[in-house]
Symmetry: C2
Subunit: 218 residues, 2 copies
C-alpha cells in the first residue's frame, strides 16, 4: 500500500466533525489520526501525533482557528492547514493565506471538494476552490505578503469588552456605567473599533463582531 495521508480535523460542531470523519474514512489512503473540538485540543494533540493535513474550522471557541493556524505554521512546517469556514469573504481568505493556510473551503463545499483539497495540498502544497475570485487569486500571486493591515487591526481587551456591550444593545452611557468609565472614554473606544473594523456605524460593528466571532448569537 502507498503511504497514507495523515489527517487531523478541528471543528467545533460535533455533527459536522463526525460527519466529515465518517466521509473521509471511506478514502483508503486517508488516515484520520485525530479529531478535536477546539484549537487548544488541536495544539495539544499535534504535539504527539504528527499529521500531514489539518482541516481547520476558523470559528472555534477557546483558542480560535486563526491562533491555532499561526502556531501550526510556525512550529510544524510539515503540517499543512486547510481552512473550513462559514464565511467566504476575501478578507478571511487573504488573512488565512497570509497566516499560512494552504487551502480554503467554504462550509457549503461538497465532500469531493474536501477530498480534492486534501490530495492537492498533500501533493502540490496548495489548493484553491473554483469559487475563489480571479481577482483575489491575482492579488495573492502578485503580492506574496498580503496586507499586514490585519496586524494592527487586532482589537484590545477593552475594545472587545465595549464591542460586546454594543452588540447587546447597550448605549455608550450604559456601558460607561457598567465599566465605571467616562462616557467619553466609551465613545472614543467605540470610534477606535469603527476605525479598526472599517465600519461606519453600529450596524457595521455588530456584523464585524459576529463575523469575527467576538459576539456569538445565542
Amino acid at each position: 500500500m502507498n503511504q497514507q495521508i495523515r489527517i487531523a480535523i478541528a471543528e467545533d460542531h460535533q455533527l459536522m466533525r463526525q460527519g466529515i470523519v465518517s466521509l473521509l474514512s471511506e478514502e483508503e489512503d486517508f488516515d484520520i489520526v485525530f479529531d478535536v473540538g477546539d484549537g487548544a485540543q488541536l495544539l495539544e494533540q499535534i504535539k504527539t501525533n504528527p499529521v500531514d493535513i489539518v482541516l481547520l474550522d476558523l470559528d472555534m471557541p477557546i483558542v480560535n482557528g486563526q491562533q491555532a493556524l499561526k502556531v501550526i505554521t510556525e512550529k510544524y512546517s510539515s503540517t499543512h492547514a486547510i481552512i473550513i469556514s462559514m464565511f467566504y469573504s476575501d478578507d478571511f481568505i487573504t488573512e488565512s493565506i497570509s497566516t499560512g493556510a494552504r487551502g480554503f473551503l467554504p462550509k457549503n463545499s461538497d465532500i469531493e471538494n474536501v477530498v480534492d483539497a486534501i490530495r492537492a495540498v498533500y501533493s502540490q502544497g496548495y489548493y484553491f476552490d473554483d469559487k475563489i475570485s480571479l481577482d483575489l487569486l491575482n492579488k495573492l500571486i502578485s503580492n506574496k505578503n498580503v496586507q499586514p493591515k490585519f496586524k494592527d487591526e487586532i482589537l484590545t481587551e477593552k475594545e472587545i469588552e465595549v464591542l460586546l456591550h454594543i452588540c447587546e444593545g447597550k448605549t455608550n452611557k450604559e456601558i460607561s456605567v457598567i465599566l465605571d468609565k467616562s462616557q467619553r472614554t466609551v465613545e472614543n473606544t467605540r470610534m477606535k473599533i469603527c476605525e479598526k473594523s472599517n465600519s461606519k456605524n453600529t450596524a457595521g460593528l455588530v456584523i464585524y463582531a459576529i463575523k469575527n466571532q467576538f459576539y456569538k448569537i445565542k
Copy 2:
C-alpha cells in the same frame, strides 16, 4: 427485518448533510429516503416520497425551514419533523414546537443525539434534548398553545427591505433616497421593526436580522 424508519434530510450545508447521511446510514433500521439542500426541494420530494421523519435545518434559503415545517405539519400528518438549528434560543424552540416540530437539536449535537431523537420521535412522537431548560419545558407543558406572539410579528416586505439596508450600515436618509421615500417613512418603518423584533436600537435590529436569516453574513 423490522420495519425501517423512513428519513429525509433537509440541510443547506452540503458537507453537514452528506456527513449526517453517512452517519445515519450505519443504522440498519434507518432508511434515508432522500436529502435536499433547501425547503422548496423538500416540499417537492415529499410529495412522492413519504417519510416518517424529516431532519430539518431551520436556516435554509429559498423556502426557509419555518415555512417548510408549517406545510409539512399541515399536509403530512404522518411525517414528524425534528429541527436542527445553529441557534438554541427559547424563542426558536417554542416557535418551532408551536409550528409542529416534534424535536429540537442544536447543531453541536452528537450523532448519538440525532439517532436517539429519530427513534424517540418515531416511537413516542416527541424528543427533547437534555439541554432544553426545565423552564422552557414547563412553559411548553403548561401552555400548549405557546405564544401566538409570532403571528403578528412577521415582517412585511417593505420592513425586510429596510432592515437589510440597515444591516448594510445605511442611514435612514440614505435608505430613503434608495427607496425613493420620505426619510420619515423610513424612520417609521425602522421603529415598526424595532417593535416587532422587540429590539431597542440598531444593534438589536442587526442581531434579529441575522438570527432570523433575513441578513446573511457574507
